[in-house]
């Protein structure tokens, strides 16, 4: 895929035309200003929530490449998140590598992990694949619990660094700086995924999702393309893990390899927003994260007797979506015609008949 920087900039500029452009610009502007407002007004809870929304947007978008586009529903993405988180932490803690690089390497290691797992896992069809991803995720958790070098069950935590090293180690108080980093990652991810989706690879993935058997007759090697999807998906999920590491500065296997708070949350964000849409995962994350966080931070933390309420609420949300809006929020909007599905980089509707020959 040979795309020049100028073409990418052109693509971005084209997105900014018309109503769509205005909406995108407004949202981007809001997101850029909000952290400053939160910081000034000393509102850590909304800021934290915003960061979580962005983090899960990153994770859910990555997840959806494999789930919505390729049809492989994984409930084990915590593997890549955890691998990314641990890689970033280990490089930082043991080798003094700056997380600016560490996060990126975390993504690569996560991608390689995905590659290795793909060989056994992609032999499985439908829910057995999903089950295997859950089992694999549990295995990773258990292994990391027993593995002394990475801290075992106690986890890892870097020391506080002096302020002149804050930029190098990305150690800042509060969520505010990290929101901008998350925005940057998300922005790059959106562009990268958009390019992939609108290329041969993106179409091939969807063919695999629709009918693997038929796809083979069209020249598509399902295993190869599932692997490509896995690499991309795991890469960005791993980077998300790295972001988690620098923000929360404490990781342990129970947190980063968790089935519910990582894997299921990611899947719910994607499904709630709409797994057959492009930005569905982001919308899903921004809807359900605030709800869950509000319940968790305002109710559960204050009343530990009701621990689990936020997940209970999550279950209700998931059930409602499954039964009444399986296409997700964005999918529903598309169905009602409120949003137009702009299919591609190159819009076929604009092609006039005489241009074909």
């Amino acid at each position: 895929m040979s795309l020049k920087i100028s073409e990418i900039i052109d693509l971005i500029r084209r997105q900014l035309y018309g109503t769509r452009g205005i909406i995108i610009s407004l949202i981007s502007l809001t997101l850029l200003i909000l952290p400053i407002i939160f910081w000034r007004l000393d509102l850590p809870f909304p800021a934290n929530t915003l960061l979580l929304c962005l983090l899960y947007s990153i994770l859910a978008m990555a997840w959806n490449i494999l789930a919505g586009y390729t049809g492989q529903i994984s409930f084990g993405h915590a593997i890549f998140f955890g691998v990314g988180a641990y890689t970033t932490m280990i490089l930082m803690l043991y080798y003094g590598v700056t997380p600016w690089i560490g996060m990126f390497i975390g993504g690569i290691i996560a991608a390689l992990t995905g590659l290795a797992l793909g060989f056994p896992l992609f032999r499985l069809r439908s829910h057995w694949f999903t089950l295997a991803t859950i089992a694999a995720s549990e295995i990773f958790k258990l292994v990391f619990i027993s593995w002394k070098w990475v801290g075992g069950a106690a986890g890892l935590q870097p020391p506080i660094v002096p302020s002149e090293l804050a930029l190098y180690y990305l150690q800042y108080a509060g969520p505010y700086i990290y929101i901008y980093i998350a925005l940057g990652i998300l922005g790059i991810e959106i562009i990268a995924l958009y390019l992939i989706i609108n290329s041969k690879t993106g179409f091939y993935l969807q063919a695999i999702r629709e009918d693997e058997y038929a796809a083979m007759s069209m020249g598509i090697n399902p295993f190869k393309y599932k692997m490509i999807a896995m690499l991309v998906s795991a890469f960005f999920t791993g980077i998300g893990g790295g972001l988690y590491t620098v923000r929360y500065r404490f990781i342990d296997p129970f947190a980063v390899f968790d089935l519910i708070t990582i894997s299921v949350y990611i899947a719910v964000a994607g499904i709630l927003g709409g797994i057959y849409t492009f930005i569905g995962p982001i919308v899903g994350a921004f809807i359900f994260m605030p709800i869950t966080e509000y319940v968790r931070a305002q109710i559960v933390v204050r009343f530990p007797r009701y621990y689990g309420l936020h997940v209970f609420v999550l279950g209700i949300i998931l059930a409602i979506i499954t039964l009444s809006m399986p296409e997700g929020v964005v999918g529903w909007l598309e169905k009602k015609g409120l949003i137009k599905r702009e299919l591609t980089l190159f819009n076929p509707s604009k092609l006039k008949e005489d241009e074909i020959i």
Partner: protein
């Protein structure tokens, strides 16, 4: 670390005993899968409900756990039928994603609903015979586990007769083998689905009730047992109900024996690893058949 023959024998016996409980949960899962082609991710949580029903019956009404079993079964059976009617039925023909999320949502609602309503506490069921250990020479095991094993055998035998000797049971098997043919024979497939799901989770609840007599209960306990159940079903062959029973015993033994040799934290890795290996090399499991016997 030296392991004596006695340790090994004790491990095997305890493995068989605990395996018989795993089997109940797995059989329910296999039944549901065999008849309806649905993976019930919430299977372990219905088991948890059974355990809690037994606990509350004992705590509030002084009812002995063994007597609570039919009550626990009935309650969860009804819950299962309701679940089938209002949730599962709606997604039977929906894309894969919806099928997965439906039972997963169920998992979250039941598991964490229990945590919210019952509280995140661990509880124990203790009766007059709770602490008794049976000893035969150097072999020993708790009486409660022994009773549970016997009960498990009884339940399984009852299930066997139900599936092979009663009209409804045979009709159930017919649906699992060929839905359309069964319909043509006049079988009401929808009612069979209610029965299958209710029965499947009901048996799991029985497992939970039995489990509660020798194992601590807590709302999130379903997680572990569900994964074990999946491993067993895969091992024993999708949809093969009694294959699930046998392989449950095998898995129980494997778990207990391997606990002699590897650190406890890695014990579950063995089970999960077995699962992945099994799914890869022999996807039909050991006894693969559609609700075979």
């Amino acid at each position: 670390m030296t392991v004596s023959l006695i340790d090994l024998i004790n491990a095997i016996i305890n493995g068989v005993l605990i395996g018989s409980i795993y089997s109940l949960i797995a059989m329910g899962l296999a039944l549901i899968w065999g008849v309806m082609d649905v993976i019930n991710f919430a299977q372990g949580d219905f088991m948890m409900l059974g355990a809690f029903i037994t606990y509350w019956l004992l705590a509030l009404a002084g009812i002995d756990p063994l007597i609570s079993i039919p009550i626990s079964f009935s309650i969860v059976f009804i819950l299962g039928v309701l679940t089938q009617k209002f949730i599962i039925e709606k997604i039977l023909h929906a894309p894969l994603v919806s099928q997965i999320t439906a039972t997963f949502a169920l998992l979250l609602i039941i598991r964490y609903g229990a945590e919210v309503f019952f509280g995140p506490f661990t509880r124990r069921v203790s009766t007059g015979y709770t602490g008794i250990i049976l000893r035969y020479g150097a072999i020993s095991f708790p009486l409660t586990r022994g009773i549970a094993f016997v009960a498990s055998i009884i339940v399984t035998t009852a299930l066997y007769f139900f599936l092979t000797k009663t009209y409804i049971g045979i009709a159930l098997r017919a649906v699992s083998q060929n839905r359309i043919a069964a319909e043509l024979l006049g079988i009401d497939v929808n009612k069979m689905y209610y029965l299958a799901f209710g029965l499947g989770v009901g048996i799991s609840a029985v497992g939970g009730s039995l489990l509660s007599t020798f194992y601590p209960i807590y709302p999130e306990m379903g997680a572990f047992f569900c994964l074990i159940a999946f491993i067993i079903v895969v091992f024993g062959g999708f949809g093969s109900v009694f294959g699930a029973y046998i392989s449950g015993i095998i898995i129980g033994v494997a778990e207990c024996v391997s606990a002699l040799f590897i650190p406890p934290t890695l014990k579950d890795v063995v089970a999960f690893g077995l699962f992945i290996i099994m799914v890869l090399i022999r996807p039909t499991g050991l006894f693969g058949a559609k609700l075979g016997l």
